[in-house]
Symmetry: C2
Subunit: 185 residues, 2 copies
């Protein structure tokens, strides 16, 4: 039937349209420390009408089920995707967290919080090492270098403290008082 042919072509067009967006998301998702194809995976699940099974994702993306499994897991870990249950369905089902403010902020906050924490610890430890060295060494030149290093570290430390404050802004949700959420129109 002609109608069916036309309809199939139309579905193809839908796919194309979706793909335009998914490709772009995938291209930029690395900013959230997520790989390109996991980004595509996210996009695929995002557009799916219903929650998807691993097999469906595998079909849709033409990739191994193993990849889907690990990919989805990493998305679940950062709360961008959640597992859902449906009566009578034995397979695991997944859907994207639909609040982007939540899902993306979340990833962002976790990664950056973690990094600043680690860096701050490293600064403290480095400072300690330098102080100790300063107390034990007899070399004036070395003491001079240490002094200069400490100055640099203190500046870095100040920056990380600030960054930490910024992250808190997001963590507490205060950011939404300053930059209000936008309503879809």
């Amino acid at each position: 039937m002609d109608n069916n042919v036309q309809e199939l072509q139309d579905y193809e067009k839908l796919k194309k349209a979706r793909d335009r967006f998914v490709s772009e998301v995938a291209k930029n998702i690395h900013l959230y420390d997520i790989s390109h194809s996991v980004g595509r995976l996210y996009g695929t699940v995002f557009f799916s009408e219903d929650a998807m099974t691993l097999d469906e994702m595998s079909d849709e993306l033409g990739m191994s089920k193993t990849s889907m499994s690990t990919g989805i897991r990493s998305l679940v870990e950062v709360n961008m995707v959640e597992r859902v249950w449906e009566k009578g369905i034995r397979k695991d089902l997944y859907k994207t967290e639909d609040d982007w403010y939540k899902s993306f902020s979340n990833v962002f906050i976790n990664r950056w919080r973690n990094a600043t924490e680690q860096n701050t610890i490293a600064i403290q430890e480095t400072k300690e090492m330098l102080h100790e060295l300063n107390d034990t060494t007899g070399s004036d030149h070395l003491k001079q270098l240490i002094k200069s290093d400490l100055t640099k570290l203190k500046q870095a430390e100040a920056y990380y403290t600030w960054l930490d404050d910024v992250i808190s802004l997001f963590e507490t949700g205060e950011i939404f008082d300053i930059v209000p959420k936008r309503e879809p129109n």
Copy 2:
């Protein structure tokens, strides 16, 4: 001489101390889309008393001069490192931008601004494609899917608009009114 031996050991300790910090920076620098070893390179230049030449970096890190060249270039491109001139020195000299607020914010802003822009464009285009399809298709089911897709895209769009606002906060420096810079103490 015993004193010399001791002093050498002390310099080693200085290196170790610096390394503690540099390693951590390198570990987390990927959040700024910079690779691990370019992160180490940054750290090395950061601690150097004087501006460094490519050869010095190469020695210090035990890596090829070619790598130093490309690494430094990428750091210069994102304004984390700058080239400096010193009278009588023919080689290129580099030092780190010492205002971390500037250097890091800069990288961050550029990358994210770029991503949101591209994503927003993609959303617009996808929306157009969907609207067109909606106008031409005869399938009710398809129209339903399109409607659902458009809703999702509008939500994403709202999120990106918000994100764009947030980035502007940093770009304009307004963020510092809200979260003031910290003074090193």
